[in-house]
Subunit: 358 residues, 2 copies
DNA sequence: ACGGTCCCGTAAACCGGTTTGCTAAACCGC
DNA sequence: GCGGTTTAGCAAACCGGTTTACGGGACCGT
């Protein structure tokens, strides 16, 4: 009859081996402080007792948790089903594991991000999509724990990672312009807080600037009513495109700010009987893994999703704010256009089709 | 000049408020043990000092970590980019949050799952894809911490969650048989350990039995060389289908054991110039969110991915092995076929070749 | 005035490790 | 044989909370 016997503690091992607790601790962590045979004797006894140091006690004593946190304003349920996050997290996980660190997701607990931050015990934080002026970031900043901001603006001397959104967007729009397109619909990512604040730092604003710069250079304007927003998901993309269409917009090309939305637009277009790219060109953003498997394969703006995650870990492990001065705290990755099958020259008799609406 | 001042501890608060540490603890955890105004006085002082209890210290003292672990033999990088895991984890996250629990992923650390298990500090474990005879499961069983096995076989009295793989597979194959198909290729999920052991408990074996039962009922056999295997990903599906094709197989229908692989097969078929479903029917398994957005939308076997995660949390929180006896420890969910656009009646000229019996 | 309950609050043990002196013995060169 | 340096191991403080056992005072009925 075996019952859940209490797990052996360091004191049990010490007693059984006839040494002090300190000796047991040394045997595992600093074996060179002990004679070789004491070490092996202690280890044998420990193995016999199936002893394993309690991670929590160790964390408390060392004041290190060997964990880095990924902080996001979205719920875990959306995080885990969002491929963009997935690829980013995969990058974080890779680098974290290499450094012997675990990762923990910090996301709103019962609706409160602050509460979640309080409950989290981490050695460093990677905050994605949270601006430097966000209250929780202030809370973290005061606490002194290293952190890095990803995909948002940071204070000038704080570590951050972002990509060249404007450049990437510019490249996407230029590509379409060169193919002869002049009528665009932009599908943007709506801010997490439904506030009507047109935050100029928000990713949507940055990319929009890039789109517009390229359009303007070709002498065409992208009006505000040609910009529709939604959550960065397939459903969001479907809904957004339908909204644009129902609103009477008849673009020859769609600029989507995320691949997920682009795929949604692809789907919506098909439902409306449009062929991509013959009748409609679509450009995404992110270059998710799936982008190469859609039908047609998606033309999109690549950003290094996994790499961003890995670099974030590196920065936060370097101590965040007080890292080596030689290394720039702010790391910006380049973006570039990947042309696949979802874009083509503007359809010739497009105008006729457009006018027959019923 | 603000510098990272040491975070206030419970002792600091106690001193500042002129009370004992115990009182401070009570003020937050058991306020009814104190007079109302002492509570508010302590809370005010605490707020002034920006005090927040150290989660690690609390874990040690309470011997609870408020965390449940998700144990998998795959690396985090594959987990996070695998939609099946994503949906399952989303379910876990939902239920965990509702119960005030955090979740932690436990996956091989420097190649060793055992090491990862040692380092993890959790109140319960959800093991997915790990058989009851797996050494790490033994380790956990001995440790006495509650656990539940998902998607694999468990000892008869241990909590586990699975789905009716055989029934679902049977339904999928029957559907194809009814459409007139007689020549199949099965795309299976290869076991994590590349061992040549044809474990009869492995999910691939279970589903294969279902497929075969339905085929046999129609008088057709699915030979071993019509079964190709690969990792459960799009790439895996593409490679598997190509391998089958290159091996001379010319099926009218494909039975894929995961939607990801089915999508890969879809892609591979298109590359080979086959139209789906006109030339080739494909049935997946899982019913991922994306299955409804592929082109054509995927016919597949639904299993309740998120629900499984939620139920797993419930079981493990009920104490795992020593739960209420009235509730079955083993929970099996039903599966059922969802017919969409990737299946159709067998193509005519192909039918002649095969159909010597109707 | 007296013993018995409550009510508030405290002191101290405890959770299970790590880490900092410190000491006793062994080793050293001379 | 002696001071000085290593070496091996120990005792105790510490990390920052929780929880149990207890005590003093107010309130109560008699």
């Amino acid at each position: 009859m075996e019952q859940a016997t209490r797990r052996a503690t360091i004191a049990d091992v010490a007693r059984a081996a006839g040494v002090s607790k300190a000796a047991v601790s040394f045997a595992f962590n600093t074996p060179e402080r002990l004679s070789a045979d004491t070490v092996s004797r202690i280890r044998d006894v420990a193995a016999g007792l199936d002893y394993r140091p309690d991670p929590v006690a160790r964390m408390l004593a060392q004041r290190r948790t060997w964990t880095i946190g990924i902080l996001t304003p979205q719920g875990l349920d959306v995080i885990f089903t969002n491929p963009y996050f997935g690829e980013f997290s995969a990058g974080v996980a890779t680098a974290a594991e290499a450094a012997g660190m675990a990762i923990q997701f910090i996301s709103p607990l019962h609706g409160s991000l602050a509460r979640a931050v309080d409950r989290a015990s981490v050695d460093g934080i990677i905050a994605v999509g949270l601006g430097a002026d966000h209250p929780e970031i202030g809370q973290i900043r005061r606490s002194g724990i290293p952190f890095v901001l990803v995909d948002s603006t940071a204070l000038p001397d704080e570590p951050a990672i972002h990509v060249d959104d404007e450049g990437g967007a510019h490249a996407a729009a230029s590509h379409l312009v060169e193919l002869g397109h002049r009528t665009f619909v932009v599908i943007g990512i709506e801010p997490p807080s439904a506030g009507a604040s047109p935050d100029p730092a928000w990713v949507t604003s940055r990319r929009l600037r890039g789109y517009r710069a390229a359009a303007t250079a070709a002498g065409v304007a992208i009006h505000d009513d040609a910009v529709v927003m939604g959550p960065a998901s397939m459903e969001g993309g479907i809904a957004a495109f339908h909204r644009a269409w129902d609103g009477g917009l008849r673009p020859t090309a769609v600029l989507a700010m995320s691949d997920a939305m682009a795929i949604g637009a692809l789907r919506a277009a098909r439902e409306l009987g449009l062929r991509v790219p013959a009748d409609l060109s679509i450009v995404g953003f992110d270059d998710l893994d799936v982008a190469q498997y859609t039908d047609p394969p998606l033309t999109t703006v690549r950003q290094p999703n996994r790499l961003k995650g890995e670099e974030a870990v590196r920065l936060v492990l370097d101590g965040g704010r007080k890292r080596n001065r030689l290394e720039p705290a702010q790391h910006q990755f380049a973006t570039h256009l990947v042309v696949r099958g979802s874009t083509a020259v503007v359809p010739r008799q497009r105008q006729e089709v457009v006018d027959d609406r019923s």
